[in-house]
């Protein structure tokens, strides 16, 4: 069964040796003039690494790889031809821009608040990777699910969780999106179908696969024919060497689940270079190995990400199965706010700083007259206010009361058991005061 569909449906990405042929003047992205040529993207990483003796033995990425699966490419060629060659409409552009600005401003504010002692623990910021969250999540419906990692604030924001609820959670307040019980690495929202930030590597991928299984189950077993919900699983390059990644690629392809595996390859797993950790650093190539398309995209370019995301989400929604998308990106800050970030080469950081996805989008929109400078300024101002308001809200919110401590340990409070007096422990009047033993 599995073999028949994979043979018929999946277009294999290009064989390795031919990838050079489609680099800088790939018609797919030709109208995107503001970004540096795609070849400099990976190639530059390559060069940087080569100059460092420590990494000389590391396997290099093979030249310039801009591998968009043929599925995506053919589609784009057709659709690009007749109409305008702009990659985005004004409304879409403004929405994505606002979302990226929100992500950036929110995270910058988090850093401030962390250093001011308003939030604690490990706080992982998303700066630099905004194109991926905005490029993917803004294409989703409310019913679609998102599964994230410990770097989850911005995924939650993109999915629609209010900034004040996320900020309040980070402040550990009762008004936080998880009532202060989750924290930075555990953002959840049932209302917005954010199935969680998962703090350990890889553990979110099976959960996402399960959510995608539910979509298929609803359609085929519960006969909810209109259920076309898609799940996005976000994770990083470090996760791609973890068994759960491979196990879930297998199951998702096997059962043709409506899921997109989005790899945010920022080249570093804390201090472990992707090139030092991975026998074949081209993560997208693992898709075809499991019978699903693997796509490689410039994750610093929201318009390219969005194109690929549209195709991958569409495939999932149409019931055509999963897709693996490798977005090559870079984080502008350390792994977490506790990371002094001394290991990464300043030249590497400087290189990627020039490729800031927000600056690129801004330039594209102004160059193509999709928005005026004033319009974009207005958005930035609006977002500043939103973030300021989020901080005020979090600041003023009450800390969780002691009575909250024992709530939500068990969903069914009878699970607290029968006490010495023969009544369920949850019926004890002292129970929610936090004095009853669980």
């Amino acid at each position: 069964m599995a073999s028949s569909f994979s043979a018929a449906k999946i277009t294999q990405p290009l064989p390795l040796n031919t990838t050079n042929t489609r680099s800088p003047d790939n018609p797919l992205f030709s109208s995107f003039k503001s970004a540096p040529p795609a070849s400099s993207f990976l190639g530059s990483t390559h060069k940087l690494r080569i100059q460092r003796p420590a990494s000389a033995r590391a396997q290099t990425r093979s030249g310039t790889v801009v591998a968009v699966s043929d599925v995506v490419k053919e589609k784009k060629l057709k659709s690009n031809a007749p109409t305008s060659n702009l990659l985005i409409t004004k409304e879409e552009g403004l929405e994505v821009y606002e979302d990226m600005i929100l992500g950036r401003a929110f995270e910058d504010m988090c850093a401030q608040m962390y250093y001011r002692g308003k939030m604690f623990g490990f706080v992982h910021l998303y700066n630099g990777q905004e194109a991926i969250s905005s490029g993917f999540i803004k294409l989703l419906k409310k019913e679609d699910s998102v599964v994230s990692t410990y770097r989850d604030h911005v995924h939650a924001l993109s999915k629609g969780v209010p900034a004040r609820a996320v900020m309040s959670e980070l402040f550990g307040k009762a008004t936080g999106c998880c009532r202060g019980q989750g924290g930075s690495m555990h953002m959840f929202s049932k209302e917005h179908n954010v199935l969680g930030g998962f703090a350990f590597i890889g553990e979110g991928i099976p959960v996402a696969t399960g959510a995608a299984f539910t979509s298929k189950y609803k359609r085929e077993v519960l006969k909810e024919g209109d259920c076309d919900h898609v799940t996005l699983a976000f994770f990083g390059d470090g996760t791609c060497n973890n068994g759960q990644f491979f196990e879930c690629l297998n199951m998702a392809a096997l059962w043709k689940l409506p899921i997109v595996f989005v790899v945010e390859n920022n080249l570093w797993a804390i201090g472990m270079s992707h090139l030092r950790a991975t026998s074949d650093p081209q993560i997208w190539k693992k898709g075809p190995a499991f019978g699903m398309p693997g796509v490689h995209v410039d994750g610093m370019d929201v318009l390219k990400v969005r194109e690929v995301a549209k195709e991958a989400i569409g495939r999932a929604r149409r019931g055509e199965g999963p897709t693996l998308v490798e977005c090559e990106t870079y984080r502008f800050r350390g792994h977490s706010l506790a990371d002094p970030d001394e290991l990464r080469d300043p030249a590497e950081k400087a290189h990627y700083a020039t490729r800031d996805p927000i600056t690129s989008l801004k330039k594209y929109m102004i160059d193509n007259k999709l928005a005026s400078e004033a319009e974009l300024k207005a958005i930035e101002k609006k977002i500043d206010e939103v973030v300021e308001e989020a901080v005020e809200f979090a600041e003023e919110s009450p800390a969780p009361s002691r009575s909250q401590l024992l709530e939500n340990v068990f969903a069914d409070p009878k699970g607290f058991g029968i006490g010495p007096d023969g009544r369920y422990r949850c019926e004890d009047p002292k129970f929610t005061e936090g004095t009853a033993h669980v």
Binding site: S145, F188, V221, M251, G415, G419, P420
Partner: protein, 402 residues
């Protein structure tokens, strides 16, 4: 292969699957013993039992109450089935009742489950509701959690409970904690079940006593079934619970036979079961050790003792009401478990009783656990690892003299 098993009778299929796992089972003893004993199936009842050390106890192995229940089985209403069939019946009733209930695990579908608990369900409900997964415990357990978060009610079968150690992260961090860390937004109505405990010379990895590993995970409820009646009732209750529940089954109890009611019933997940009321001492036990205790009880009764036997069933949280009432009556407590001695269920139970009922105790609590060793392969060593009826008799005699 699957069709072969479906064609033959349940008992044959069971033995086939066991031999497939290179586990020698006790098919011949099942017939002779279970018919004689009714609801009490004496596990180590083959050759070894009659040979020497524990032989003395075997002849008296069954408590009076159960004897009388079993004696008149033929004329009673209800139907008679084996424990694994009772589990299946519970599963099937719940799948009929709620289309969101589904099963996933290794070989649960076409093969029918390694112990045949899910036999016949895949043809009836289809491959999606009874999902054969690849051998990837961590991932399919995580998948069940994701499915539960989005509205399904999955039952995860660990082909052997020990395999679920590979899914420990998902069971602990996600099953147990996610309801709490999400501030109560998401519930994880998952049942995790499978065969565990010390079987017959299955070797260390297949003879795990995992209760101690799982008991400190916050947010997880644990129950252990011990009879066909409570196996079915607990299975149904676990499926209906909004909490993640781990249902412990014991490899040596699957062939236990009992007559259970035809009408629907469900057991309370948090409630202990009074097995034998008595006055002199409270013996707390669960799962397979219940039968070792009942063997010992018969001897003890003949010696003039009147022990109260309670199958605690709910391993987390404990039913301190039933336990407490018993302690207040007998003032003496013996705990008999198959779990590890260090950090096991018995250790937790000892602490809970001391905390809550210390004033009622006339003697220190005695806890008979299995030894803190990897379960050895050799039959003799394996026997020394777990608590034997003779030890229970001795312990009770000593406790009652205090």
């Amino acid at each position: 292969m699957a069709s072969i098993f479906q064609a033959v009778g349940a008992a044959t299929a069971l033995s086939s699957s066991n031999s497939f796992d290179s586990k020698k089972f006790y098919l011949s003893s099942r017939k002779s013993v279970s018919e004689r004993k009714g609801s009490i199936f004496v596990v180590r009842s083959d050759g070894r039992m009659n040979s020497g050390r524990v032989g003395k106890l075997v002849t008296n192995a069954v408590a009076t109450k159960a004897d009388s229940a079993a004696a008149s089985t033929a004329s009673k209403p209800g139907h008679e089935l084996l424990l694994f069939e009772a589990l299946r019946e519970g599963l099937e009733e719940e799948m009929d009742r709620d289309p969101r209930v589904c099963v996933m695990g290794e070989d649960v579908g076409h093969y029918g489950g390694s112990y045949k608990v899910t036999k016949g369900l895949a043809p009836k409900y289809g491959d999606l509701r009874v999902l054969d997964t690849p051998i990837a415990e961590n991932s399919f357990t995580g998948m069940a959690i994701g499915a539960a978060m989005t509205g399904l009610r999955p039952i995860v079968e660990g082909m052997n409970m020990g395999f679920l150690l590979l899914a420990f992260n998902q069971i602990s961090n996600n099953c147990g904690m996610l309801h709490y860390t999400s501030g109560g937004q998401f519930t994880i109505p998952v049942v995790i079940r499978g065969p565990g405990g010390v079987g017959r010379q299955l070797g260390a990895e297949h003879s795990q006593r995992l209760e101690s590993y799982f008991q400190s995970i916050p947010g997880i409820q644990m129950v252990a079934c011990s009879t066909p009646y409570n196996a079915k009732g607990l299975m149904k209750a676990a499926i209906r619970s909004e909490n993640p529940v781990i249902l412990f089954e014991h490899v040596l109890l699957y062939n236990l036979k009992e007559r259970i009611p035809d009408e629907e019933y469900i057991c309370n997940l948090e409630e202990a079961e009074m097995v034998r009321p008595g006055e002199h001492i409270t013996i707390l036990t669960y799962s397979r050790m219940r039968y070792h205790v009942m063997q010992a009880a018969k001897t003890l009764v003949n010696k003039g003792y009147d022990p109260e036997v309670i199958d605690i069933r709910s391993l987390k949280p404990f039913d301190l009401h039933t336990i407490g009432n018993s302690v207040k009556k007998t003032h003496r407590v013996l705990i008999v478990e198959e779990c590890m001695r260090t950090g096991g269920i018995g250790a937790s139970l000892t602490a809970a009783i001391t905390e809550n009922f210390h004033d009622y105790l006339d003697a220190p609590i005695v806890c008979l656990s299995s030894q803190d060793v990897p379960t050895p392969y050799a039959g003799t060593l394996e026997e020394f690892t777990i608590v034997q009826p003779a030890q229970i008799v001795t312990a009770v005699e000593q406790l009652c003299q205090q």
